[in-house]
Every structure is written in structure tokens, then in C-alpha cells.
């Protein structure tokens, strides 16, 4: 007996942080979560699994377009034709979604109730699935404690959307502990909510499959679902099914050896080529971060736009259909000798001292803050949330920005001669 355990599909959830550029394959990016889900359904049909479990967060809570539901329904229709039942549990995002209440689904889709834990029995497989959907998004009760007792002699699968012992990076919904789950006496816990893959093999096999498709740089690496095999009441292999259509990767390039922009770009290009060679055939969305104490620090600061253009050109030369640059970040620092510029006691050292004193000039800082707020006051909230520097200026902490720019500016000026 084999089944697929998926969760956190977030259908039609957009990929964020990607500024399109001329060679970027924007069309592929925009339907990635759909394509990944269609891949999952195709795999389920090809593998002839016995059933599919979706452990919550099928939709994005704030997503309103009913077409998403229709698309999901059509994919369920494909599984119905293949004779594969689906056991669907709603999570915090689904509880917020109006589609959850409105959408009519094919009769091979079985939804777990939200008022109390319910069970579905599959007598021919001697499998019973227990689960309870979220009624409200903000479900912070421990739902697992009220799950039914296991059916003796059957394979008991618990389906639950939970933060599991307060996962720091996710909202603390339906918290519970591994010990509590194991105490239920089920053989397998199909969990959802945490977007990273995790597996515990103890008294029970407990698993988060992770989300189906990475949507931003914080969801880097391979994504997909789990293909679970069972023999009687014993859980066997748990394999990862990578159904994502493109993969995020955070690439750090140490440009410390680069003495100028061209060499830094060359190092970044080599790192990209190496990454593509290693990654296989799946397209990559890469955030390139240049790091290291580099003599090129100042030049990179002054010519950041050119650096980005040259790295993009390099990526295009590798293959625009395989490699897209999400962002180029400069996280370099001044070269070791340049750090000691103070000891030189020349005009540049004087400039360094002055730059450090700028934050102490209240008139200058106030004027600068007023100027910056002319732009920041008009920004959409999503842009403000995406930029820590903007948030700090809004919070009256312009000094952070000034401090972060000073050293790079100094290096830029010192190398400009």
C-alpha cells in the first residue's frame, strides 16, 4: 500500500521578491505553484498510489480568485478518473478562504470535519485516517489531544495542521508535541504547516513534507511531497517526491580575492556556472550575494547597477532558461588594509573620521530624514515590509543607514583617484 502525503500547496500563491528583467521567464514563474501541483497529481496517477493526503493550506488565505478552486477541482477530477481518493484537511490559510466553503468538489475528495476530529475508513486496505480541519485561522488549541483512539489491527494515519512544539518560523497554530502525537498510538502522522521537510521515526512516523513549491528565497532547496509505503500496520519507506518546477538557491560568492569589479563579476560568473553544473536540469532562481573583505568593496558600491547588469548578462550566457537571478546583494566589507585607513592620517582618513561624525550632526540627520521620508511616505506597505532599511528610517533610525553606507562610500572615494 502506498499513499502520498502533501501539504502547504498554497495554490496560485505568487513568487515574491523577483524583479523581472528582460530575459527572465516571467510566464513560468507566475504559474509555478499550479504547475507543481499538476506534477504531483501526475505522479500520483503514474505511481498508482492508493490515496492522497493533503494536510492543510491548500490555498493562500488572502487569495480570492475562485479560478484557483476550479483548477483544484479539475485536478481532483483527474484523480477521480484514476480511481484515487483524496483526504483533504483544511489548515489556517484554508479556514480564511471563502473558496473552502463554496467550492463543490468531486466525490473522490473527502474533507475532514472542522467541528471535531473525524475518521475515514478504507476497509479494503484496512487503513483509517483521522483528522480535523481548522474552523478558524487562529486555531491555537491543541487539536491532537481529541483525536479518536486508534483502530486496532488497522493502519492508523493522523492528519494534522500544526506548528508542532512552536516552530519559530511559523505561527504557533494547533501546537502539540511529538510525545503527544506518539501517545495517540497511530502509525503515521501526516502533518502540515511547517514548510520545511522533517521526519521523525519513533513510536510513530511523523512527517512534514514541506511545501510543494518554493516561492521566495527563504524557501530555497528542493520541494515536494512524500511517497509513503506501508505493509500492514508497518510504515516502510518514506521517499521525497520533488515536484517543484523551479528551485530557489541562495548563492554566496566570496569576492575577497577580487581587486576590482570585473574580477568580482568573474568570480560570481564562475560560481553560477558551478552551481548550474551541479544542480541538474531543473531551472534555478538564484539570489547572488557577494561577500568578503574585498579591495573592490568601494567600486562595487558605486557601480552596483553595473554589477547587477553584468551578473545578469553572465547568467544569460549560461542559459536564461535554466538560470534566473532573483537579486544581487552586496554584502562585502572593506579590504583589511582599507579598514586601517585611520592610521594613514591623510585626507581619506580625515574623510573617514568625518563620515563617522555625520550621524552626530542633528541638523544634517534631520534634513536627510526629511528628504528620505518624501519617498518612503509614498511607498506601498509591501515594499516597506520588504526593506529593513526603509523600516529603520520610518522608525527614526536613519543612523543605521548612514553607518552602513559610510565605509563603502569611503572605499569608493579612495579608489576613485
Amino acid at each position: 500500500m502506498r499513499f502520498i502525503h502533501a501539504a502547504d500547496i498554497h495554490l496560485d500563491s505568487p513568487l515574491t521578491g523577483l524583479a523581472a528583467y528582460p530575459d527572465a521567464p516571467a510566464e513560468l514563474l507566475r504559474t509555478a505553484t499550479r504547475d507543481a501541483f499538476a506534477n504531483l497529481v501526475t505522479v500520483a496517477i503514474e505511481e498508482k498510489v492508493d490515496f492522497l493526503i493533503i494536510a492543510g493550506d491548500l490555498y493562500d488565505g488572502s487569495w480570492k480568485d475562485f479560478n484557483t478552486g476550479i483548477f483544484f477541482s479539475s485536478q481532483m477530477g483527474r484523480l477521480k478518473v484514476a480511481g484515487i481518493p483524496v483526504y483533504l484537511l483544511y489548515g489556517n490559510h484554508d479556514a480564511d478562504s471563502e473558496m473552502t466553503r463554496t467550492l463543490a468538489l468531486p466525490d473522490n475528495v473527502h474533507r475532514f470535519p472542522s467541528n471535531k476530529a473525524g475518521s475515514f475508513r478504507l476497509p479494503e486496505l484496512k487503513v483509517v485516517l483521522h483528522g480535523r480541519s481548522f474552523k478558524d485561522a487562529a486555531t491555537t488549541d491543541n487539536l491532537a489531544v481529541n483525536y479518536p483512539d486508534p483502530v486496532e489491527g488497522w493502519l492508523n494515519i493522523g492528519v494534522l495542521h500544526t506548528a508542532l512544539e512552536g516552530n519559530a518560523s511559523h505561527a504557533n497554530y494547533a501546537p502539540c508535541s511529538i510525545a503527544e502525537l506518539e501517545a495517540r498510538g497511530y502509525q503515521y502522522w501526516a502533518l502540515g504547516h511547517v514548510h520545511e521537510y522533517k521526519l521523525w521515526r519513533g513510536a510513530s512516523v511523523i512527517a512534514f513534507p514541506g511545501n510543494l513549491q518554493g516561492r521566495h528565497i527563504r524557501e530555497a532547496g528542493p520541494r515536494g511531497a512524500l511517497l509513503v509505503s506501508a505493509q500492514g500496520v508497518e510504515i516502510g519507506a518514506v521517499e521525497r517526491l520533488h515536484v517543484d518546477v523551479l528551485r530557489w538557491h541562495a548563492l554566496e560568492v566570496d569576492v575577497a580575492p577580487a581587486s576590482n569589479l570585473a574580477e568580482a563579476v568573474r568570480l560570481a560568473g564562475r560560481a553560477l556556472e558551478h552551481l548550474v553544473e551541479e544542480s541538474g536540469v531543473l531551472p534555478l532562481v538564484v539570489r547572488v550575494t557577494l561577500t568578503g573583505a574585498s579591495p573592490a568593496h568601494g567600486e562595487l558600491f558605486g557601480l552596483e547597477t553595473q554589477v547587477r547588469a553584468e551578473v545578469l548578462a553572465h547568467a544569460a550566457s549560461i542559459g536564461s532558461e535554466r538560470l534566473w537571478i532573483e537579486k544581487l546583494r552586496l554584502d562585502t566589507s572593506p579590504h583589511a588594509l582599507a579598514v586601517d585607513v585611520t592610521a594613514r592620517l591623510d585626507a581619506v582618513a580625515d574623510l573617514q573620521a568625518l563620515l563617522q561624525k555625520a550621524e552626530l550632526d542633528p541638523v544634517f540627520m534631520k534634513s536627510l530624514e526629511e528628504d528620505l521620508m518624501q519617498l518612503i511616505g509614498k511607498l506601498p506597505l509591501e515594499v516597506i515590509d520588504a526593506l529593513a532599511c526603509v523600516k529603520s528610517v520610518r522608525a527614526g533610525q536613519t543612523v543605521d543607514l548612514v553607518r552602513s553606507i559610510g565605509p563603502a562610500l569611503l572605499d569608493h572615494v579612495a579608489k576613485a583617484g
Partner: protein, 1161 residues
């Protein structure tokens, strides 16, 4: 740190070259060398030695990269280090023992500097000077930028700030623009939001669409049902209205049929049958009446016609005869014309035959006389070859005769030549002498050279003056070295220069001291400042008075105390007044103190200068004494060292002249010996050549005469020998040619004899006289050709034309006679043409009779057929009526016609009834007539129309309703269908996120560049405020010097915003930077750089200053001023000055005296 030595071990073009930079009071070193000498390499080597050899160094063109090696010695604060530098990434430092040194071993010497900083701060060349001048021009409206750029050696500060500002402006500004990235992204965001809004389908929308469709389906079903009911009732009324008239008509027909119940049943065609039979009978009878008489007339005419069948049978032959007649009718005339042409040809042939006296009595005789074609052709071939063969024989004979003559002449010349050869000894002797060239002139020249060298040597030895010695003594003595002498003279020169400078300095210091004393006196007089000593003294007096008062209080009475108290108060007031005055005039006091301290410094400097002058005088005396001893040791007592260099030079020249004289004398003697040996050898050889009689004479002759004689003999013998060889070769060639020419003559004669035999034989065949010449035969052949042509033409006219025509005419006469014998014996004797004409006439008559007979017979047959058909038609018409008569029993055609009329009436009624029944069935919607009658009975026909109109109106309304509902349903279904799971909204959201990301990216960069630009501007303003005073004061002094006091100092235009830098002239006028000449701007930049460096050196780690060809655009005076400025710098740090120009060296000597270390590359 200073560089004590630079070792160019393997670097660039250098190998094992060391440059020393010894310590001096003014640490100034000049490296001079022409272009390509390696100055740039030296500059790079200093950088590479201190900071490492770069990865891609251009200095590996002789030595390979791994072999590059530098070394040197540096010192700093008493510490010194000797080290080497190899090429590599790390561990490139080596100690003297070539062991690896730690990479940080130089840190103590170099401080916190790197290569870029050193190059930027401590390096200046002409290009950077010019660029610096340009940079302060471009920043001339911003004093802060000018100062910073000059101090940091950075030319692009303005460009950096401007590029940051420009980039910020491209990203965002308050003013919206499609060129700014932020607004582009904002527009994308708005478009995406609109697209998202349009594409998003909410759950509520989907539910409403689904419910709306269901409601429309129900409404549509009800409307369709109502429409069906109205339509059914309307159909019933329409049916009744349709069939009711037909049913009424059917009833009326049924009544009429009853009246004709007894009418006979005749076929429907009976009336037509009767009419047709009656028409046929009438027509047949008329035809029979017309045909009978015509048949009879035709039969009579046939009997009267006679036809000549025999004539008609031979009609073809008659026509052929007539055709032949027409074709041959011109033949007789043609035959006569051709016969005349034959006669004319014969006349021509006979005439030509008579000219060559041939017999032309008949054509046959003449034709037999003409030779055959083969003979004719052979004669022509022989005539053509005759002249060539004859010419060939003649030419060969002439050539043979000429060659015989040539052979005789050559043999005669050869026998007349002498038969002698030149002796080998004479040749060798002559050759040896000729190698000496113009030996007499050379001898004279060498003698002159010896004399010249003697004079030169005498002069050179005279130049040694009082210290003259002979050559051997000169060579043997140990003269002082040039370096040693130069050391004395250089020291003296340097001391004199320094002494002059010290004297000038002393005068200047005296002036300054006097001026300062005057200033102090005037200052005291003007401000009367109170010194601290004065206050201290006053307070001491006050305190002493008080102590005195206190000590004597017990012993002092009241009045005395009052006096003392008054005195004490006076002292207190005096001390306080002095203190207040000092407080009020503290500034003046300070200034006075400053002037006094300055005065003391000047006095100290003057004393130091005086001590230096005395030290220099002592040094001169010591130097003179040292030299005197040294000169004595060299054997040159009393020779001043000032003259020593000249004497050493004269000694060298004298020794060179003596050597040259000896060389000249040796050359002269060697040449004379060679000439004499040659003369004797020639004389001996000429004696052998000419015999004993010329020997005595030859032994006395000069070398030149002997050479002439020998050369004449050798030339004569050599020439005769050549002529002999040439004649022998000519005789051989002539004999060989003569043999060949004889064979040619024989061959030509044989060919001509053969021709002659053929000629006689052919003449015989042509029946011509055997000795006729070819030219005559050629003329006869022309006439024979004419005769032959005429005879051929005659034969052709006869055979091809005349004979053929006569044959055709004969055949025609035979044919005509044969036809006449068969058809018209009366014409047998007539001419063929007449017979043909008559037979044609008779044939025409026979054919006409035959045609008439045929026509009449055809007319009879046609009349007989027509008569038979008319009879048959009449009988058939009568037979067709017989059945009708029999069925109705009529007696005649009239009764038959009546019966037919009644039968047709009954049949029409039946047809009408059937028609109405069919119409009722068609319009009755499938109901039977009975059912229709029942329906119709229930309907009020009078109200039928209005009821139908009403139903039609209701039907139309229902159709409109249905149509509208169908449209609405289609729209609702389409709307629902559009919600089909499309990804448009997802795509729009993707676009929205992309726009947000672009916006975030733009804002992030904007914040960086905007804040960067603002920070830079703020910092530069601050820099100006801090540095402006001291830097401008110092730079102004340097600038004044560099411009030779054309400018007094540098000032700031405080009225402009931002502040501007200006140069102030001695007359008080000011010049902005953009008003300065290019050269002056460069000097301003140099002033600012040197001032900044001076200030830097006052507080930071000292490194050598490398100046590379700085004064290319400076005139001499300004170059000297520039050197003075660098000289001041060299008091604080080492200065290495690279130049390609020797011209600068005297200036260096002027400024630095002997202190400057000059290194030549």
C-alpha cells in the same frame, strides 16, 4: 621611512644594477636618464619592492616572471632592514641570506599604508599634475572639493558625487517621469493591480452566476409551455378557416354529378381522336387529287431523253488529255529559245579554239581535242612547283660559295697571328705590385701623416707645462685619479655654494632680526603690554609690603600705620591695575611674546649660520693641505687641484699623441719596403721575358716604369691568344657548314630533275609540244578551260531541257490520236490540241443529258410515294373512330361528338371532387374529413378572424419573451463558463509581485546612492571648514614661490556660495581658478599637494616622495622654484626626482649644491 638603496637584481631591462640613496641634510635624489633608460621601471621597482610585484607585471620581458627579483635597504627611526623581493602571492620577502622573511616584516617601516595609498599620496608625475590641475578647474566652484582632491590626490571626487546624484535622480525624484525607475515600476504595479482586479473571480460571483443560470432555465421552460398552448389553438382555427370552403364546394359537386349519371363512359381522349381523324381524312383526299397528273407528265419526259454513255465512260481520259494540253502549250517556244543558246555557246568555243589553232570543224572534233581533267590538274601542279624548285637550286649554290670564301679568309688570318704566352712569374710579380694601389701617392700620404703626428705630439707635451715629462716618465708615473680630483673640486664647489647660501641667509636673518626689533619696539610703544614678570614684580612688592606691615604691626603707631596702609593700598591698586591691564592686553602680550620668541629663533639661526660659515672655511684649509700632500706623492708638486683635472686630461692627450706618432712611422716604413720588393721582382721577370739585352736597363728603372712595361707585354700577349682561339672556332664552324651546304645543293638539283621528267611526260599526254615552257602552257590551259566550259553548257542545255520538252510533246500527240480513234474517228488526223478541245465539248453534252434523266426519274418516285401515303392515312383515320362508334352506338360523327361531350362533363365533376378532397386532407393536419366537419361545426366562422388575430398577438409576445430569455441564459452560461480555472489572476498577481520587487530594488539602491551623495557633500564641507585655514596658508606660500611671486597668497571668496578659491596678486587683485593659465593651475595643484603632504608628514608615517618629470611644462625659473619647493619637502622626507632632461641638472646644482645625489641610468 627612507629608501637607502634599490637593487635591480632581475627586473625589467636591468640586471644587477644598484642605486644608492645616501642620507643628506636635504634628502633629495635625482635619477636622470634619456627616454627608454628605465626611469618608469625604477619608479615601479620602488613600489614593487615595498608592496610586492603585481601578478601581471609588465617588467618580465627580459627576465622570466619567476626570476624577477628586487632588493634594497630601508630605514626608519633608527631601524634598518636589507631585504629582497621575489614574485609570488605570499612569502615574497627574503633576507640577505635569501631566507624567507615574514610578510609583515615591513609593517614597522611602511605603517598602515598600501600600494595605492603610497602611489597616490607620495607619487606625482606630469600626467597626474596636469589631471590635478584639470580637476581643480572642474571643481573650481567648490573650495571643499578642491582642497580634498588636492590633499588626497584624488581627481574624481566630483565625478563620484555627481554619479551618485545622477543615479539617485534616475531612480527617484519628487517629479514623476517615465525615465525614473521608481515610476516605471509604479506604473507596472498599477497595471498589474488593474489586471488582477479584472481577472479575480470571487466565490460570491461564482455562486451568483450559478444561481442566475438556474433561474433563467426555469423561466425559459415555462415560457416555452405557454407558447405551445397558444400555438395549438391557433393551429385549430387556422385549419378550420383553411378547409371549410373546400368542404362546401365538395358538397355542390356531388349534387351536379347526380345529374349526369347516364352519360356514356368514353375515354378522355375521345374528343381529340374524333377531331384528329376528321382532319387526317380531309388532308389525304386532297393529296391524292394533286399527285396523279404530275406523275403522268414526268413519265413522258423520261421517255424523250438520249445519253452518249461511251463518251461518258472515257471522260477521265478526255479530261487528262485536256490537262496535258494546257500544261505543254508553251513548250515549242521554249525549245526554240534553248536552241539559240546552244548555238551561242558553240560560237564561243569555236572562237577560242581558233585562237590556239585547234581544229573546230565540228563539235565532236573539238571535244576530242580538249585534254582530260587529270592531265589538266597535273599540268597546273607542275607549273606551281617549277619556280620554287628552281629557286631552291640557285640559293643552295650561292650559300655554298659564300661559306667557301669565309673559310679561306679565316685560315689566312690565323696563319698570320704570333704564337707566344705570358710567363707566370711576370704575372705574379705584376699582381703583387698592383695590390699596393697608387703606391707613390700612398708613400707621400704616409710621410705627411708622420710629420703631422710629430707636430701634434710636440704640442701635446708642451701642454703639460711645468709638469712636462718624457713619454716613458709620463707612462710610469702614478697620476691622481679623476674621481679623486673630482672629489676635491666637488667638495669645494659644494662648500662655496653652501657658503654663498649661508651668507645670503645671514643677511636675510640680519634683516629679519632688525625688522623684528623694530616691530617689537613699535609694538611696545603702541600697546604698552604688561608682562607676567611685571605683574609678578608688582605683586611681590605688594606682598612684601603686607608682610612688612604684619611683621611691624605691633611696633607701628597709628599714623605710621596709616601711611604704610596707604602705601600698601597703592601697591595693591598698582598690582591689580597691572593684572587688569595684562588681562585686557593678554592678546597683545601674547603677540609680543611670540615676536620675542621669533626674534630669539632668528638670532639663534643667525648664530648657527655664522658657525656654518666658519666650519666651511676650516674645511677649505684642510682640503688644500690634504691635496698638497697628495700631489707630492704623485710627483706633481705645486699642482693645484683646480688644475689637476686639466693636467690629467693633457697627460692623456700627450700619451695618445705619442702613440699615434709611433703608429704612423711604422706604417710609413712598412709601405716603403713593400714597394722596393715589388720593383726588384718585376725587374727580374722582365729580364727573363725579354732576354739579356734588356736586363741591365730593367734593373735601374723605377717601379712605375717597370709596371707600365710589364702591363703592356701582358696585355699584347693576352689579346693575341684570344684572337687565335676565336679564329680556330670560326674555321671549325665554316668547315662543318660547308659540308652541310653541299648536301643541300645536291638534294635541290635532284628534285628539279625529277620535275623535268614529269613535265615532259604530261605535255605528251596533253598532246602539247614537248618543249613548251610552263608559262605558255599556263596560257593554253586558260583557253582550254573556256572551250571546255562552253561545250559543257551546250551539253547541259540539250540533255536537261530541249530533249525533255520534245519527249513530252510526242507523248501528248500519241494520247490524242488514240482517243480520237476510239470516240471520234473524224478527228484522227487533227492536231493533238484540236482533238482535245473537241472531245471536251462532246463530253459536256453527254453529261448534261444524263443529269436531266436522273432528275425526272427521282420526281416520279416521289409522286408515287406521296399518293400511297395519302391513301393509307385516310384509311387509318377512319379505323380510329370505329371503337368510339361501337361504345356509344352513334350512327355518325355528329352523334359521336355529342356523346363525347356528355362523357367529358361527368369526368370533370369527378376530378373537381377529388381536388377538393385532396385540399381538405392537405390542410386538415392529418384529421379525417369527418373529424374536420366536427371541428368546423363548433366554430363561429364570423368570429374566427378576430380570434386568430388575438392568438397571433399572444404568440408574438411569447416568441419575444423566449428570445430574450435565451439571450440572457447564454450570457449567464458564458459568465459561468469563464470561471474555468484560468490562471489570469495568478499571472496578474505575479506581475504585481514583480513590480513590487522592482520597486523595492529601486528604493534600496536609491537610499544608498542618495545618502552616499549627501554624506559626501556634508563631509567635504566639514573638511573645508577644518583644513581651509592652515592648508591655504601653507599652500599660498608655496604657490607664491612657484609663481615667482606673481601671486602673493591664496584667499577665499567668502561672498560666493559655495566658497571659491582665489589667488591674490601683490597688488591686491584676485584671480579665480578658472582665470588661471593652465600652467599656473598645475602649479596651484602642486602647491596644494605639497602643502597637504607637508601637513600629513607632520602627523603621520613618513614615506619617500617620488616625483617623476614634474616640470616638463615649467620654464627654467619656475623649474628652479619647483626644485626649491621640493627641497623644502626633502628636509622632512626623502625625495626621489626622476627626469629625462640633463638640462635640469644645473638647476639642481643651483638649488642643492653638492647635497643632491645624482644617479644616471
Amino acid at each position: 621611512m627612507r629608501l637607502d638603496r634599490l637593487d635591480l637584481i632581475r627586473f625589467g631591462k636591468f640586471t644587477s644594477r644598484a642605486l644608492d640613496f645616501p642620507v643628506a641634510e636635504r634628502d633629495f635624489h635625482v635619477i636622470v636618464g634619456p627616454n627608454e633608460a628605465g626611469k618608469s621601471t625604477v619608479r615601479a621597482a620602488i613600489l614593487d619592492l615595498l608592496y610586492g610585484i603585481p601578478k601581471n607585471t609588465p617588467h618580465a620581458f627580459i627576465h622570466a616572471m619567476p626570476e624577477l627579483r628586487l632588493g634594497g635597504a630601508i630605514s626608519h627611526d633608527g631601524a634598518a632592514l636589507e631585504f629582497g623581493r621575489t614574485k609570488g602571492n605570499k612569502q615574497t620577502l627574503r633576507c640577505a641570506a635569501d631566507k624567507v622573511l615574514a610578510d609583515n616584516v615591513l609593517d614597522a617601516f611602511l605603517g598602515a599604508t598600501d600600494r595605492d595609498f603610497f602611489a597616490q599620496m607620495f607619487g606625482l608625475n606630469h600626467d597626474r599634475l596636469v589631471r590635478g590641475g584639470d580637476s581643480i578647474l572642474s571643481a573650481s566652484d567648490d573650495l571643499g572639493q578642491v582642497l580634498f582632491q588636492s590633499a588626497a590626490g584624488i581627481g574624481n571626487l566630483g565625478a563620484v558625487r555627481e554619479s551618485l546624484e545622477a543615479e539617485a535622480d534616475k531612480l527617484w525624484s519628487k517629479r514623476k517621469s517615465n525615465e525614473r525607475a521608481y515610476y516605471v515600476a509604479l506604473d507596472d504595479l498599477e497595471r498589474a493591480k488593474t489586471a488582477l482586479k479584472n481577472a479575480t473571480v470571487r466565490s460570491k460571483d461564482w455562486s451568483e452566476a450559478q444561481h442566475g443560470l438556474a433561474a433563467l432555465d426555469a423561466e425559459l421552460a415555462q415560457a416555452r409551455q405557454d407558447h405551445l398552448a397558444v400555438k395549438a389553438h391557433r393551429n385549430l382555427l387556422e385549419r378550420v378557416r383553411r378547409v371549410k370552403p373546400q368542404m362546401d364546394a365538395l358538397a355542390e359537386i356531388a349534387a351536379a354529378m347526380a345529374l349526369h349519371a347516364k352519360a356514356p363512359e368514353l375515354p378522355p381522349s375521345a374528343a381529340a381522336t374524333l377531331a384528329e381523324a376528321q382532319r387526317d381524312i380531309a388532308a389525304a383526299e386532297a393529296g391524292i387529287a394533286h399527285a396523279d397528273p404530275a406523275l403522268r407528265a414526268a413519265t413522258d419526259a423520261v421517255a424523250a431523253i438520249r445519253v452518249d454513255e461511251r463518251m461518258r465512260e472515257l471522260g477521265t481520259e478526255i479530261n487528262e488529255l485536256n490537262d496535258s494540253r494546257l500544261a505543254l502549250r508553251a513548250h515549242p517556244a521554249s525549245i526554240a529559245r534553248l536552241q539559240a543558246e546552244v548555238e551561242a555557246q558553240w560560237a564561243v568555243a569555236a572562237d577560242v579554239a581558233a585562237q590556239i589553232e585547234w581544229d573546230a570543224s565540228s563539235e565532236e572534233v573539238l571535244r576530242a581535242r580538249v585534254p582530260g581533267q587529270a592531265v589538266h590538274a597535273e599540268l597546273e601542279r607542275l607549273i606551281r612547283s617549277h619556280a620554287a624548285l628552281q629557286q631552291q637550286v640557285t640559293t643552295a649554290g650561292r650559300a655554298e660559295k659564300a661559306k667557301l670564301g669565309e673559310l679561306s679568309r679565316a685560315r689566312a688570318l690565323a696563319s698570320a697571328l704570333p704564337a707566344t704566352e705570358v710567363g707566370a712569374g711576370l704575372k705574379v710579380a705584376l699582381g703583387q705590385v698592383q695590390k699596393l694601389g697608387d703606391f707613390d701617392a700612398a708613400q707621400v700620404l704616409r710621410q705627411e701623416q708622420v710629420e703631422q703626428k710629430e707636430v701634434a705630439a710636440s704640442l701635446a707635451f708642451d701642454a703639460l707645462g711645468a709638469w712636462r715629462r718624457d713619454e716613458a716618465a709620463l707612462r710610469a708615473m702614478s697620476a691622481p685619479s679623476v674621481q679623486a680630483v673630482a672629489g676635491f673640486t666637488n667638495d669645494e664647489l659644494a662648500d662655496e655654494t653652501q657658503a654663498r647660501a649661508l651668507a645670503a641667509r645671514g643677511r636675510s636673518l640680519d634683516e629679519q632680526v632688525a625688522q623684528l626689533e623694530l616691530d617689537i619696539a613699535q609694538f611696545r610703544e603702541m600697546h604698552q603690554p604688561v608682562s607676567a614678570d611685571q605683574v609678578r614684580r608688582a605683586r611681590g612688592e605688594r606682598d612684601a609690603k603686607w608682610a612688612s606691615l604684619k611683621g611691624d604691626a605691633a611696633n607701628t603707631d597709628g599714623p605710621a600705620l596709616l601711611v604704610h596702609a596707604a602705601e600698601y593700598e597703592k601697591l595693591v591698586e598698582g598690582a591689580d591695575a597691572l593684572a587688569d591691564t595684562r588681562h585686557d592686553k593678554v592678546q597683545q602680550g601674547s603677540e609680543l611674546q611670540s615676536k620675542q620668541q621669533q626674534q630669539q629663533r632668528l638670532l639663534l639661526e643667525r648664530a648657527t649660520a655664522a658657525a656654518d660659515v666658519a666650519r666651511l672655511a676650516d674645511a677649505a684649509l684642510m682640503r688644500d693641505a690634504k691635496w698638497a700632500g697628495f700631489a707630492r706623492e704623485c710627483g706633481l708638486p705645486e699642482l693645484p687641484y683646480q688644475l689637476a683635472l686639466g693636467w690629467l686630461d693633457a697627460r692623456t692627450r700627450a700619451l695618445d699623441a705619442a702613440q699615434a706618432l709611433a703608429d704612423a712611422r711604422r706604417a710609413h716604413a712598412s709601405h716603403a719596403a713593400l714597394c722596393e720588393a715589388g720593383r726588384q721582382a718585376l725587374a727580374r721577370e722582365l729580364r727573363d721575358e725579354s732576354g739579356a739585352e734588356g736586363g741591365a736597363e730593367s734593373g735601374k728603372d723605377t717601379l712605375a716604369l717597370l709596371v707600365l712595361r710589364a702591363d703592356a707585354i701582358v696585355c699584347a700577349i693576352t689579346e693575341a691568344s684570344g684572337q687565335r682561339r676565336t679564329l680556330a672556332r670560326q674555321i671549325d664552324d665554316a668547315e662543318s657548314a660547308l659540308q652541310s651546304l653541299g648536301e643541300t645543293v645536291a638534294s635541290a638539283q635532284a628534285e628539279f630533275d625529277h620535275w623535268r621528267q614529269c613535265w615532259h611526260a604530261t605535255l605528251a599526254q596533253a598532246d602539247l609540244w614537248p618543249h613548251t615552257e610552263p608559262a605558255m602552257v599556263e596560257a593554253v590551259l586558260v583557253s582550254v578551260k573556256k572551250i571546255d566550259d562552253s561545250l559543257a553548257a551546250m551539253r547541259k542545255l540539250r540533255s536537261e531541257q530541249i530533249d525533255m520538252m520534245q519527249s513530252q510533246l510526242g507523248a501528248q500527240a500519241v494520247q490524242a490520236r488514240a482517243l480520237a480513234e476510239r470516240l471520234a474517228p473524224d478527228l484522227v488526223d487533227a492536231a493533238a490540241d484540236d482533238i482535245a478541245l473537241e472531245l471536251m465539248v462532246r463530253l459536256g453534252a453527254a453529261n448534261g443529258a444524263h443529269a436531266e434523266l436522273v432528275r425526272q426519274r427521282e420526281a416520279i418516285a416521289a409522286l408515287e410515294t406521296r399518293l400511297e401515303q395519302a391513301t393509307m392515312r385516310r384509311d387509318q383515320a377512319q379505323a380510329s373512330l370505329a371503337p368510339l362508334f361501337e361504345r356509344c352506338g352513334a350512327a355518325d360523327t355528329a352523334a359521336l361528338a355529342d356523346a363525347i361531350e356528355r362523357s367529358d362533363q361527368l369526368r370533370r365533376l369527378r376530378l373537381d371532387a377529388a381536388g377538393f378532397e385532396r385540399a381538405i386532407r392537405d390542410g386538415g393536419d392529418g384529421l379525417s374529413i369527418g373529424q374536420l366537419r366536427v371541428e368546423a361545426d363548433g366554430i363561429d366562422m364570423a368570429a374566427l378572424k378576430s380570434e386568430l388575430d388575438d392568438l397571433t398577438g399572444r404568440d408574438a409576445l411569447l416568441v419575444d419573451t423566449l428570445s430574450a430569455l435565451a439571450v440572457r441564459r447564454q450570457g449567464a452560461a458564458l459568465a459561468l463558463g469563464l470561471i474555468g480555472g484560468a490562471a489570469d489572476a495568478a499571472r496578474a498577481e505575479g506581475q504585481r509581485q514583480e513590480a513590487l520587487a522592482k520597486m523595492a530594488e529601486t528604493v534600496e539602491r536609491y537610499l544608498k546612492v542618495y545618502v552616499g551623495a549627501r554624506l559626501l557633500k556634508w563631509s567635504i564641507d566639514q573638511y573645508r571648514e577644518i583644513k581651509q585655514g592652515p592648508m591655504l596658508q601653507l599652500a599660498g606660500q608655496i604657490f607664491s614661490g612657484l609663481t615667482l611671486d606673481s601671486f602673493e597668497r591664496l584667499t577665499v571668496d567668502f561672498d560666493s556660495v559655495p566658497l571659491k578659491l582665489q589667488g591674490r596678486r601683490p597688488n591686491g587683485s584676485t584671480v579665480n581658478i578658472d582665470g588661471l593659465s593652465e600652467g599656473t593651475r598645475d602649479q596651484l595643484y602642486l602647491s596644494l599637494r605639497l602643502a597637504a603632504l607637508d601637513m600629513h608628514l607632520g602627523q603621520a608615517h613618513v614615506l619617500p616622495f617620488i616625483a617623476d618629470d614634474l616640470f616638463i611644462n615649467f620654464d627654467d625659473r619656475r623649474s628652479v622654484a619647483g626644485l626649491r619647493a621640493l627641497g623644502e619637502l626633502s628636509r622632512k622626507t626623502q625625495v626621489v626626482f626622476l627626469t629625462h632632461n640633463d638640462h635640469i641638472l644645473p638647476m639642481v646644482a643651483e638649488v642643492f649644491g653638492k647635497q643632491a645625489n645624482i644617479v644616471r641610468l
